[in-house]
Amino acid sequence: MTPFSRALMASTALATLALAAPAWAQSLNALVWCDHADPELVRPFEEAHGVRVNLREYEGTAAGLAILDQSRPGDWDVLVIDAVDVGRAVDLGLLAPLPADALPTGDFFPELVMEDLNTRDGQVFAVTEKFGYNTLSFNRAAVDADAMGDMNSLFSGDFTGRIAIYDYYLPVLGMLALNEGIATADLDAAALERLRAPLMALRAESRLVGEVVASQTALATGEVDIVVGGGEWLTAVLAEENPDLDWTIPEQGALLWAQSIAVLADSANPDLALEFVRYIVSPEGQARLATSSCYWGMPANAAAAAHLSDEERAILRWDQQPEFLARAQRYPVPDADLDAAMQDLWIDMLQQ
């Protein structure tokens, strides 16, 4: 072998090794919602800790739990989950306890600490990271804002064919329950039957039932003027292009959505996972999460205000939060049978 050949082989081997070696010393696997996939949110954490964060997006608790069920122990380190479903995950033994003193819940909006959801027998298992409302989004240029102050106007016939329904049964059925004077916490099988007629009536008034992108597209293109179940999460990212796209909470109230973040019990990197959770609920992380490119939402940590611009706070309606929080009710938390009945009703509505 000539010296040149040896040099060539050696340099090739070195280059191969360099390429094959992991770019990051450690990695973290997180099962999240799409707002966490914004590189602006994750990159600062990766750079600060010299790690790689692998994200997998999912929608709906059932899908998330199915992914965990099909994974090997240790595959996942962090889980983002509906705050109302934290209890389900705790019951399944999926979540690791979190040190309460490591979390800045003292700076949180008090309603968003949600101890009853995130804590079990005095032990913290998750922490709220973001919240918002399922309510009415609308195009101010096409719809009288006063009319949106009353949910009954949806059934008046004035907006026939101009309404989109957000394709998620829990918030929409919750909103209809509020309109019927039923608290979301009291929603049971009997109360659900009372919602059948209003749901079908709403369907008759609507043009489409769409998931996030379809609803946003319909509102942005003028296909519809109202999205039932929408909110700041739906319109905020569109506000720059069309400031007329707005949202409000009608007199009957709205649904409060909240997402929590937790460390999985069988995480292979529990310390790093906790650091990630602490970053997400830190004021800087919260501001980035609130204005994520997928959807905006209020940060649970009120200290994030210092890291948001005046314009961003205005879009999030920061100053109106005390009033909004007072008028919003939590998502219904159905047991398995009620959940199945709700979904059956939803399918009936879609196939009407």
């Binding site: 489409l208 039932v209 769409g210 379809a214 597209t217 293109t221 296909e223 399918i347 196939q351």
Partner: protein, 283 residues
């Protein structure tokens, strides 16, 4: 080579394909059938065997309607796609000069080069209130106000037809170019006019290509989730959409499996019908 050695060699050649089929088709399918005979109680899967999911599917109108909607949409898409693709393929095969045919075919399949999802969202904009179609209709004075074209079955069918016309054009074109011009000349010599030549000679000879394309259209259309989900506006649910709902929202794998088995049974019946009545085995 002895007969035994030949047999061993033969098995050696087919073994990889057999193993592949067993591992990635037979075993998963058997698992799916077994799961479909289980049932979900609360959030727990209770092993079968039982027919609860099948009984529920055929007795619950909103679920059965998913199958009906899928069949209706598929039938319309298949018929419309064949009706559009056949003349297009014939023009390319018989009217376009040989040297340009490849270029025209590439142009015909150009839409395939974009993402299926992106193409569906593009149709959403084209068919929207302020989209090109409504603008053209109003600009020509055909309608005074925009029509609701998106979020309808029409939109779903349009999205499908756009895709499948290209697929059918390719399969029918492949059949047409192989056809010897002598058949048409012989028919003309025997006194057949253009229409009679097409109906009695050209069409029967190209039927295998049409049936292959139509069957592929049927299979892909019946099982498609993306197009109706994006373009249909959830105004009615197809069977694949209902399957996704069972998986994504309910975590009801047994019910989703039962529906998938039913979907597969429908496709198998369609294949058997093609094979029996149109002698698809000649293809």
């Amino acid at each position: 080579m002895s007969p035994k050695a030949g047999t061993r060699q033969g098995w050696g050649f087919v073994a990889p394909a057999l193993l592949w089929t067993a591992a990635f088709f037979v075993a998963p399918f058997a698992l799916m059938v077994w799961l479909s005979l289980s049932r979900l109680e609360g959030r727990t899967v209770v092993p079968g065997p039982g027919l609860d999911n099948y009984i529920r599917f055929f007795t619950e109108p909103s679920l059965l309607r998913g199958l009906v909607v899928s069949l209706e949409i598929t039938a319309v898409v298949t018929v419309v796609s064949v009706a559009l693709a056949y003349p297009l393929a014939a023009i390319i095969a018989f009217r376009v000069p040989r040297r340009w045919q490849r270029v025209v075919l590439v142009l015909a399949i150009l839409p395939f080069w974009t993402s299926y999802v992106v193409r569906s969202y593009a149709w959403l904009l084209v068919l929207g209130q302020g989209g090109a179609v409504n603008a053209a209709l109003m600009g020509l004075g055909i309608t005074e106000a925009p029509l609701q074209l998106s979020a309808t079955r029409f939109a779903t069918v349009t999205g499908f037809v756009h895709f499948f016309v290209m697929l059918l054009t390719l399969t029918i074109y492949a059949n047409l170019v192989q056809l010897s011009p002598n058949y048409a000349r012989a028919a003309a010599d025997l006194g057949a006019g253009r229409v009679a030549t097409f109906v009695h000679v050209i069409l029967p000879l190209t039927l295998p290509g049409v049936v292959t394309g139509a069957f592929l259209t049927f299979v892909l259309c019946m099982g498609d989730y993306i197009t109706p989900q994006i373009l249909g506006g959830n105004r009615e649910l197809t069977l694949p959409q209902l399957i996704m709902m069972q998986l994504g929202r309910r975590g009801d794998f047994p019910m989703a499996s039962a529906m998938a088995v039913i979907l597969m049974a429908v496709v198998s019946l369609a294949y058997l019908a093609c094979a029996r009545w149109l002698r698809v085995e000649r293809i």
